[in-house]
Structures are given as C-alpha cells and as structure tokens.
C-alpha cells in the first residue's frame, strides 16, 4: 500500500472528516492516525482541531504524540495546524487557566476582549463567521503557500482565543476582529498554522490547502478541479 499524502492527527476531539474530505477534493490522499509510530512515518502532518486547548494537549499527551510531533517538526516535515491545532503550536495558552502548548513557536494564546468592554454593536465572541486575511506590514506572501491567495480573501473562523507570537516575523497574515488585529496565519520553516478553517472556507479555502500541498510537493493534485 502506498503511503498517504497527508497524515491527519486524531487526538480525540476534532472533526476530522471535513479536513480529509477537503484534501480528497483537491486530489490528495489522507489517513487519520493516533499512534506515535504513524506520526513518525508521515510525509506531511496535519493537526486540525476544534475544542478547548487543555483537552487538546491532554489528548496529544495521552496518545504519546507530543515528542513524535516535535521530532517531525525538527526534521523539517511539512506541518499544517488548523484552528486549535495552530494554537497548540505555541508556548502556552490562557484558555481556562494557563496551559503549556507544544512550544514550537514562542508566544501565548490569549482571549478576545469581552463584548462588554468593547462597545461595538456587532462585536461578539466567539469570532464566528467570514473575515478577511491581509498581509501585515513588512511581510510578503511571495514564496509562501499564500502566494496565489488574494489580499482580503474571505475565510471562515470559529474561535474565542488567538495566538500572540513573540517574534512578529512568523506572522504571515493578520485579521481584525473588533479592533483587535491578530495573527491568522503563522509560518516558521516547514511549520504553518491557520486560525481559520480552510476546509470550511469554500473554493478559496480549498485552493489554500492545495497551495500548501503544492509548495511542499505533496501528492500529484487531482483531476476534479
């Protein structure tokens, strides 16, 4: 049996189906795994996720996946974290107490301001719905997996927390929610993370997944598109 193009990490709480269906639509094969051995043999790793930070980290810990993930990242294996999977790349999170993350990117995950503090009519938490990604000053999407993506592309978010990297250099795209500008896409070497859900962001979201595969030479690409 040939190895799957993408290895999706199952840590017990995420909706994996839409992610694997998304890759299937762009002609890439994927498999869902939850053991250290399978993570270690992956060509490319995807860490999706919806849920609480602590539950997510506990899910990885319980399955013995933390060290294998760190090892793969240090070897330069292409890695995509989505939503909670992106937040867990950071040092720590303030969600329901302070919790340690994978610490692959230095920084802390913090909460959006409460609506009571903001006095903006439409402002709500969670930040749920369609919003735009833009290039922050001093950064460029050239050469990255967002190279083909247009400025201000609308993508789908569902989250109440967001990461604040120590080094602004890892921020590839930002998004604004109620005057708070946060890192919606981060990149550090072969590691990328999106706070939004490309698998729920329509055809443009799928093309972002496709670019991620293309730039990492993952799979051939499909005939469907």
């Amino acid at each position: 049996m040939t190895e799957a193009d993408l290895t999706i990490i199952d840590y017990g709480l995420n909706n994996l189906k839409s992610v694997s269906k998304g890759f299937e639509k762009i002609g890439r094969s994927s498999k869902v795994v939850d053991t250290p051995e399978e993570v270690l043999s992956a060509k490319c790793l995807v860490l999706p996720g919806i849920g609480a930070f602590e539950d997510g980290m506990n899910g990885l810990k319980k399955r013995g996946l933390i060290d294998p993930i760190k090892q793969k990242v240090s070897e330069g294996t292409p890695f995509l974290g989505i939503c909670l999977g992106m937040q867990m790349l950071f040092t720590e999170s303030e969600e329901f107490g302070l919790h340690k993350g994978l610490d692959l990117i230095k920084g802390r995950v913090i909460a959006f301001k409460a609506p009571e503090e903001m006095n903006i009519d439409w402002y709500k938490v969670p930040h749920m719905g369609w919003n735009e990604i833009i290039t922050p000053a001093g950064s460029t999407w050239n050469g990255s997996f967002l190279e083909e993506t247009k400025e201000e592309t609308n993508v789908y978010f569902v989250h109440s927390f967001y990461p604040v990297p120590e080094d602004n250099g890892v921020i590839l795209a930002t998004t604004e929610h109620g005057k708070q500008i946060f890192a919606s896409v981060v990149q550090k070497g072969s590691l990328v993370g999106t706070q939004f859900h490309p698998e729920k962001s329509g055809e443009l979201g799928l093309s972002i997944l496709e670019s991620f595969c293309d730039i990492n030479n993952i799979g051939e690409g499909g005939t469907e598109k």
Binding site: N15, K17, M128, G129, W130, N154, Y156, G202
Partner: protein
C-alpha cells in the same frame, strides 16, 4: 460573530427530496438535497441548513446519509436539524461532517440538552431552533414538530432561556410567514434580537432580496435563512448579497 452578514440557504428535506411548503404545510418536491446544496454553495451561500422535517417522527438515518454525502462537496459550514434528541445524536451528526446541530422539539422537553451539548461540544455548534406563531400583539408562541405541536412557551422568554443555557445561535422561523413570500416577520425578529446577544438567524417569508434587506435593517439581525425564492429560482444567493451590499451591509465576497 463577524461583522459580515450571512446569507444561509435552508433545505427542508423529506426522504430523498428537498421539499417546500407554505406555513410548513402543502409540501411539494423541489429537488434533490445534494444537487441543490452544491448549487447554493457555488453561488456563494455562507452556510447551509438542512432540516429533516419528518425526522422527529421517523428517525434520522436519512439525514445522516445526506450529511455524509454533503461533506464530499460542500466546503462551508453547515447545520443539521430534525430528530436530534440526545448528546449521542449531536455527536453522530458532528462526526458525519456537520458543524452545528439545530434542535427544537427535544430542548423544549429537556432544556438541559442545550447546556450539556454546549459543555461537551462547544456553544458554537448548538443552534436552538424556534418556530414561532403569532398569538397576539407582540406575542408569539413556540411550536414544535414543524408547527404541529404547541408548547405554551413564550418565544421571547424561550429565546432568553436558550441563550442562558448556552445555545450559540437561534434559528428563528415564523410559521405564519413561512413559504408565503410576503416578507419576514420583522417584529418577531426584532423582539428577539432586542433581548438576546447571540446571533439570530431570521427565517420564513422572504419573497425578494429587498425583503431580506428589510429584515436585516428592521429586525436588527445579520443572518438570514432563505429557501422558497432560491428553490423557485426567483433570485440567486449573489443577487441577495448584492442587494445587501448596495445598502452598505458587508457581505463575504467570492474573489
């Protein structure tokens, strides 16, 4: 919630078909769920809602199958309702690829299902579905089983209650206006949006894009669910969005 208004396509399904009626009755077949969902997805719908209108009576396997097939082709968030009774039902729908579940009958009988569901899966995936029938000036009663049963619950009080229990959104359908294409019940929508801070999806009665714009303005909501005028090809999702956008309401663009 983001500041962009959401235009949501609603598909009521019965067995293998999408159906549409007037005031949840006189149903007629308008198409197949897979094909119609894909059409609205490609037109730029921001989300989809599937409601199995007979699932409370006959079980939910049909809808699970539809959700499973939809997740092959639909890459936007979608909500599933009809026949969700337990935490296991919620889990099953989410696992099949749905992002949210809409629950009506079961939460009127067991309101704790909202809080338990929100705690286990997150508020963002629990949508309280409320079917409202006008019973007097500024008063509406919540119905269940697609308008077949009364509950004695006051819609505004019930909406406040589901928010307090942890629902992430309310899908608010006017049974009186549903399918009539005479415009939405903006008073109903406004009465609820004035009292809750979670998003309220206005549903029932749109006959034109202008009706939807009217509802966003007068009902003070940012989310509308549309069926008849899409199913009967009176307008497309993009027509609706351009009507909203021309009036200064931000919508998601497709490019």
């Amino acid at each position: 919630m983001s500041k962009k208004a959401r235009v949501i396509a609603r598909l009521d399904v019965k067995g293998p078909n999408v159906i549409k009626g007037v005031q949840l009755e006189c149903l007629r077949v308008v198409g197949k769920p897979g094909e119609m969902a894909e059409k609205y997805y490609l037109q730029g719908a921001d989300e989809l809602i599937y409601v199995d209108i007979v699932a409370s009576l006959y079980g939910r396997d049909n809808l699970l199958d539809i959700v499973d097939k939809a997740s092959d082709k639909i890459f936007i968030p979608f909500t599933v309702g009809g026949g969700v009774r337990t935490l296991d039902d919620i889990r099953e729908f989410l696992k099949a690829g749905a992002d949210k579940v809409a629950i009506n009958t079961a939460i009127t009988k067991d309101p704790e299902l909202v809080s338990k569901g929100a705690r286990m899966f997150g508020s963002q995936c629990i949508v309280a579905s409320i079917e409202a029938r006008k019973i007097g000036d500024g008063k509406w009663e919540a119905l269940t089983d697609n308008g077949r049963e009364t509950t004695g619950l006051d819609v505004i009080e019930w909406a406040k209650k589901v928010e307090e229990l942890g629902a992430g959104e309310i899908l608010l359908t006017s049974v009186d206006n549903e399918g009539t294409q005479k415009g939405l019940d903006n008073d109903l929508i406004r009465s609820v949006t004035d009292e809750v801070s979670i998003p309220v999806i206005a549903c029932g009665g749109a006959g034109s894009s202008e009706d939807l714009l009217d509802c966003v303005r007068k009902g003070n909501t940012d989310s509308v669910a549309v069926s008849s005028i899409l199913h009967f090809d009176k307008v497309t999702i993009s027509d609706i969005k351009s009507t909203l956008n021309k009036d200064g309401i931000e919508v998601r663009n497709l490019d």
